[in-house]
Symmetry: C2
Subunit: 393 residues, 2 copies
Amino acid sequence: MHDRRLAARAGELKPSAVRELLKHSKLPGVISLGGGIPAPELFDTEGLNLAVQQVMNGRFNDAFQYGLTEGYPPLRQAVSELCQARGVDCPASHVYITSGSQQSLDIVARTLLDPGDAIVVERPTYLAALQVFQLAQANILSVDTNDDGMLVEQLADLLETTRVKAVYLVPTFGNPGGKTLSEARRRRLVELAKKHDFVIIEDDPYGEISFTDEVRRPLYQHAVELGCVDQVVYTSTFSKILAPGMRIGWIVMPDWLAQQTVIVKQAADLHTNMLSQVITAEYLSMNRLEKQIALIREDYRKKCVALADALESQLGEHLEFSRPKGGMFLWARFRYPFDTMEWMKKTLENGVVYVPGEAFYNDNPDTRTLRLSYSTVSADGLMTAVERLAKSL
Amino acid sequence: MHDRRLAARAGELKPSAVRELLKHSKLPGVISLGGGIPAPELFDTEGLNLAVQQVMNGRFNDAFQYGLTEGYPPLRQAVSELCQARGVDCPASHVYITSGSQQSLDIVARTLLDPGDAIVVERPTYLAALQVFQLAQANILSVDTNDDGMLVEQLADLLETTRVKAVYLVPTFGNPGGKTLSEARRRRLVELAKKHDFVIIEDDPYGEISFTDEVRRPLYQHAVELGCVDQVVYTSTFSKILAPGMRIGWIVMPDWLAQQTVIVKQAADLHTNMLSQVITAEYLSMNRLEKQIALIREDYRKKCVALADALESQLGEHLEFSRPKGGMFLWARFRYPFDTMEWMKKTLENGVVYVPGEAFYNDNPDTRTLRLSYSTVSADGLMTAVERLAKSL
């Protein structure tokens, strides 16, 4: 009889029911509003081909040999410049390259969180972040959100009674809610961090995908102004603006945290894939990214409008939602008691899937909610998808 | 005043003193016998270029889009065939692609080990495995080794009094010792696993780099014969036989462990770099790997002989060692009390570095020992290196 006892932290993780359901999304004829994946026709094929060619001709050994745990130095430099353009004014020495945002969260959580440490997330929040914090055996607490993002005053109340180690949020065009934290709340959140001595994990995968010219200032920048930037961990990724298959993300973090996080990263995978790092550095040197992001913005904006218009005209009596100002997701909620998990069995029969909102809650799931992703479906496809949703009611 | 308390598991990890010392190994004129890195002139530049070209022309979207956590299906298939040729007769469904061997160990440790669980390693053992088990807060126990690898009877004694969750070893051309576990001990180890109900983690990065035609049967194969293959986790990598910069390794593991390990992998980095996976699958389909491995074997064999000959003739009175039959490392020991960590300051002045053996011990370090890597230095360079070592005495 073999010892099949798994570690408690791993044993607690459940294979997601959503994941099982979404497996059907690849059936022929099914339109998927489920995945959070970028539109492949917006990959810069020409630019990536050029970058790969340059690397194979001129940087072969850098790309195929072992590298440094902290990341490929020219990429760290290029990322720090990209960050500065976003208002995250950090030196290259504070930039650490990771195998994507998911790994950024995991290695920071492993470095920062002991079992039982309290971490606050948004309600709803990014599904895979919940997995990371569960794996760290943290005490996960949720704070509600509205159209202006996290209800920071609710957090303030919580802080009066509870010692919080860190707050995790996607402040701009959040996943799944599509919400953006207002400037006033950003300021207040950073003030609370300073007062109550917790770390802010600012996850920013979608910030560049804005449908307007409105400028949102990163929490990092507020923290610089308030003199507490060493309490902010800023993470971002090339997955949504360049290509997710290369798995390149990064962390901007202060020295006190970085030193041990780098050791954890070394234990986790020695270092991030060099081939992808060198290609990304080469690509960034070509100054094509900005133009590419403009194309992505415009494409997703049009799709988002198409989806929102169709929902409003065909399902407006049933669903309420705010129009996203950026990102990849529209978050909707039934106007009456409803179970979107159960409903998906029916919509799947009619050829359309989404993600039931309850997947994004740590506790008290709102079963009326659902996340609709518009990034990979054409405007016509989105209209058909909404017709199919309507037919399923 | 900010909360700079790190998680206990991360706080326990020390930046390696060796790593600090080895930073000097890149000084001009210094010959490094320190790194465990493959010779870049043995990368199959032509084959990798062809594979990359094929991928960019025919598999672009596979390479740049998100992928499955378990790995790219054609690569899982190709790896299972490669495994079968090694005597690891596994279906593709038991092969899981990782971001290198280091990640294989990390995600298996996170899934399998609770804090305090006993894991047995060889004395000396692979440095970065120690880091992984420390991060899992396991109770690490060491069993001695000799020329035939781990002293399995010492393990048997230990098992009489101690509940052991897993045994980790590099049975073929080990790192750092360069030792290979004898067939009799392999059998006995698997029998013990069956009797005492522990998991064997068989780490095999170097098995293909044999200097002779002698065949060593994997522990996995013994376990198949003894009917306990679901107690063996087999890990390997393309880092030493193709290119480490792509960070592609794999795990062969039974379903009872795989299910949760895949969830941990998903939380750790969603999935392994697709670009590298697709390139590796394409490369394997070209049937060039076997020829490439033959070149690596012959090159490393010659270098190993050059190093061993030089050591014998110039330092034979001072050092004892066994000639490796494969792999990348020669493990030597002073014949009298000696501190190789201290000595390195002197050898560095004379322009040569190695890794002091004490880095590879979990406890009771033998300060007389040192690891010499011959993979990246020419035969002439190795002779010069040994002259410099001799001069440093």
